[in-house]
């Protein structure tokens, strides 16, 4: 497998599933979560090198989820993918340690580019 496993966190189930399928076509194995708490638990239990995180989640706001993930596993790389991100969100997320901030609708090639660069930097 070329890429490490990915955790997709998005409350829009069909969107999350579809994204997982697209990434799978590109040779990645994805796990999908539909709320923030489950995602945090997943990260605690298993190691996911990369998380694709939506901001608007039914239980917790994305920035909070990001903070907790980074607290439990600082080495984790999180890419924020949101439909309604404000400048303030972007700044907050980048400050807490997000790797990238992307808007929906997603440009898959840009996402792939980011992932490739991460791969290259990885030890």
């Amino acid at each position: 497998m070329k890429h490490p496993d990915i955790l997709i966190v998005d409350d829009e189930r069909r969107y999350a599933d579809m994204l997982a399928r697209r990434l799978k076509l590109r040779g990645m194995v994805c796990k999908v979560c539909y709320d923030g708490q489950t995602a945090i638990d997943c990260v605690k239990q298993d190691f996911y090198p990369m998380v694709i995180l939506d901001l608007r989640l039914p239980d917790l706001y994305g920035t909070e989820v990001l903070k907790r993930m980074k607290t439990s596993r600082p080495e984790i790389e999180v890419i924020i993918l949101t439909g309604h991100g404000t400048e303030m969100d972007r700044e907050q997320c980048m400050a807490v340690g997000a790797h990238a901030f992307m808007n929906k609708p997603l440009d898959i090639d840009r996402l792939m580019g980011i992932m490739d660069r991460l791969e290259e930097q990885a030890p």
Binding site: R22, N103, P105, L106
Partner: protein, 587 residues
């Protein structure tokens, strides 16, 4: 000079002009017809000021008039009364003298011609005014005469005074010419002879003495004093009533025991004051009426002069009042008009802001709701594309890929719109920096340098070096200027110009205006220009969000944006921004 005249005229006669772009504000105004309010104000003020003034003057005139009337009646009456006493005394004195003579002398001595001459001489010395003296028997024959005329033997039976005298024991005749053909008055007394027959002693009085006595009571050139008989025939000359008829031109006043005065109108319509008295001696009544006639106009002369002066004063006071009231009213109503115009503008702007804010909220809601399904379409189409791209058998089918690409492209365009919509509605944190406006404008112009050269567009930038730097969000201000310059470039033809000007305004604000001489914007479109999705460009060429986003950004920077435009003349956008930033409250 003409400027001063114009400013004075507009101070007196303000026009309350509403320029074309203010006409749509009329329903925000408190009043509609300022000309009417102005007129009413002047009318009410002038009425309340002038009516009492005029009424009091009128009342004053009335009082003066009445007191003058009373005064002139009293004075005329007094003159008439005095003159009456003099005339009565004149006649009484002579009648008494005659009575005394008759009683003293007796018929026999009186008919002695020498004695009668002596008596006449004594009477002339004692009283004067006598011309002759005669004794007439009861059959009317003159038996003795002393005096200048030779009238002995004349018969007086038919003379009215003779008959009166026999009847009433004494008489005073009217003034008449008689046998001697000279005007005279006869006073006569009857007595009884020793044989029981009656005889009459007559004295003729000079009228000159009577006329002189009357004249001495004449006061001024507007007064006349004369005697008439009971039929109105003049007995002494009158300066008012002259002519062939020898008759007084007013009606004979009714009998009264005492002196009286009254107002009358003479034949020529002039007002006169008439005082009169029926002359009666203690011994016998006479047929004389004493008349005093005064022209009222002459007596009023002093008052009329005074009244003219009062009228002038009244007129000047009224004129000053009218001018002061007009100026004050014009000033006040003009101030109200200006304040109301300001209020109307503010209200119109507030309403527009409100409208835009609600449109913004709606737009944000729509954007949120559409973005999720849009993302899903994107991903699904992407997945389908992935499937085809990654599987060899479809990889080289260009038609399939084209179709999917067009779906993804459409989704991208929708995504751009939703992002812009959110940008319009959302309040971001404003990051304040100190910015030199001149540098920023030249940065923005640099983006367009090539295009301007290519299209031969002249860009004038007029920003003074001394303009204070402003504290604001660099990104947003840059976006604002960029949007407006973009807009202008789209509006102007090749070879036109673009004018960018900045000035420090009052109240610590900077005013930036961007003016082009392009096609202009119609009045109707001008109202909607800041609304989202409003565009005049062809479909697909513009989203209609540029100016509404600019509007939102200016609001975020606590600024203000206005636009003025005329079709064919060009458009000017004016932005005012505070020099020092206010603290943003997070929404």
């Amino acid at each position: 000079m003409t400027g001063e005249v114009n400013s004075f005229l507009s101070a007196v006669w303000p026009r309350f002009q509403q320029t074309g772009d203010e006409l749509h504000l009329s329903h925000y105004r408190t009043f509609q017809d300022y000309r009417q309010i102005w007129g009413m104000a002047i009318f009410v003020l002038i009425s309340t000021a002038l009516v009492p003034l005029v009424v009091i003057t009128m009342i004053y005139y009335q009082l003066i008039q009445r007191s003058i009337d009373t005064e002139s009646l009293l004075r005329t009456e007094r003159v008439a009364s005095n003159a009456r006493r003099a005339v009565t005394f004149f006649l009484e004195e002579r009648l008494a003298a005659l009575t005394f003579t008759v009683n003293e002398m007796g018929y026999d001595r009186l008919t002695d011609p020498g004695r009668l001459q002596d008596v006449l001489q004594n009477l002339k010395l004692g009283f004067g005014g006598l011309t002759d003296l005669s004794v007439i028997a009861d059959d009317g024959t003159q038996v003795a005469y002393a005096g200048p005329f030779n009238l002995e033997g004349k018969d007086y039976t038919d003379q009215p005074w003779f008959r009166d005298c026999l009847k009433n024991d004494a008489c005073v005749s009217e003034i008449f010419s008689g046998y001697r053909d000279v005007p005279h008055v006869v006073v006569a007394v009857k007595s009884i002879r020793d044989d029981g027959r009656a005889f009459v002693v007559r004295a003729t009085l000079e009228t000159e003495r009577l006329i002189q006595t009357l004249s001495s009571y004449k006061t001024g050139e507007h007064a006349d004093i004369f005697l008439v008989n009971h039929q109105g025939l003049l007995q002494t000359p009158s300066s008012f009533f002259k002519g062939e008829s020898n008759r007084m031109a007013i009606a004979v006043p009714p009998f009264a025991e005492r002196t009286r005065a009254m107002m009358k109108t003479d034949a020529s319509g002039q007002q006169i004051v008439v005082g009169y008295a029926y002359i009666a001696t203690k011994i016998v009544p006479t047929s004389f009426i004493l008349m005093v006639v005064k022209q009222k106009a002459g007596m009023m002369k002093v008052w009329l002069n005074l009244r003219r002066e009062i009228n002038w004063f009244l007129f000047l006071s009224a004129l000053v009042l009218v001018v002061v009231i007009t100026l004050t009213s014009s000033f006040m109503v003009n101030k109200i008009f200006q304040a109301d115009s300001e209020k109307a503008k503010t209200m119109a702007m507030a309403e527009q802001n409100c409208q835009l804010a609600s449109i913004g909220q709606l737009a944000a809601g729509v954007a949120h709701e559409i973005n999720n399904p849009l993302a899903l379409i994107n991903e699904t189409a992407g997945y389908v594309k992935d499937l085809f791209t990654l599987k060899k058998e479809y990889k080289d089918d260009p038609e399939l890929l084209d179709n999917i690409d067009s779906i993804i492209e459409a989704v991208e365009r929708c995504g751009t719109i939703t992002r812009q919509l959110l940008g319009f509605a959302r309040r971001f944190d404003v990051q304040n920096q100190t910015i030199n406006l001149k540098d920023m404008v030249s940065d923005v112009i640099n983006f367009h340098k090539k295009e301007a050269e290519y299209r031969d567009i002249a860009i004038h930038v007029d920003i003074p070096d001394g303009l204070p730097p402003i504290e604001t969000d660099r990104g947003k201000l840059q976006q604002i200027i960029l949007n407006l310059v973009n807009n202008a470039f789209q509006a102007i033809d090749n070879g036109s110009f673009l004018d960018i000007q900045a000035r420090a305004d009052a109240d610590d604000r900077v005013r930036l205006s961007i003016r082009d001489n392009g096609c202009g914007i119609s009045e109707e479109n001008l109202k909607k220009i800041f609304e989202p999705f409003f565009t005049t460009k062809k479909e697909g060429q513009g989203t209609g969000l540029g100016l509404s986003i600019t509007y939102g950004l200016v609001q975020k920077l606590h600024g203000n944006i206005t636009v003025e435009s005329q079709i064919g003349q060009g458009t000017t956008f004016v932005i005012t921004l505070p020099i020092t930033a206010k603290k943003e409250t997070q929404a």
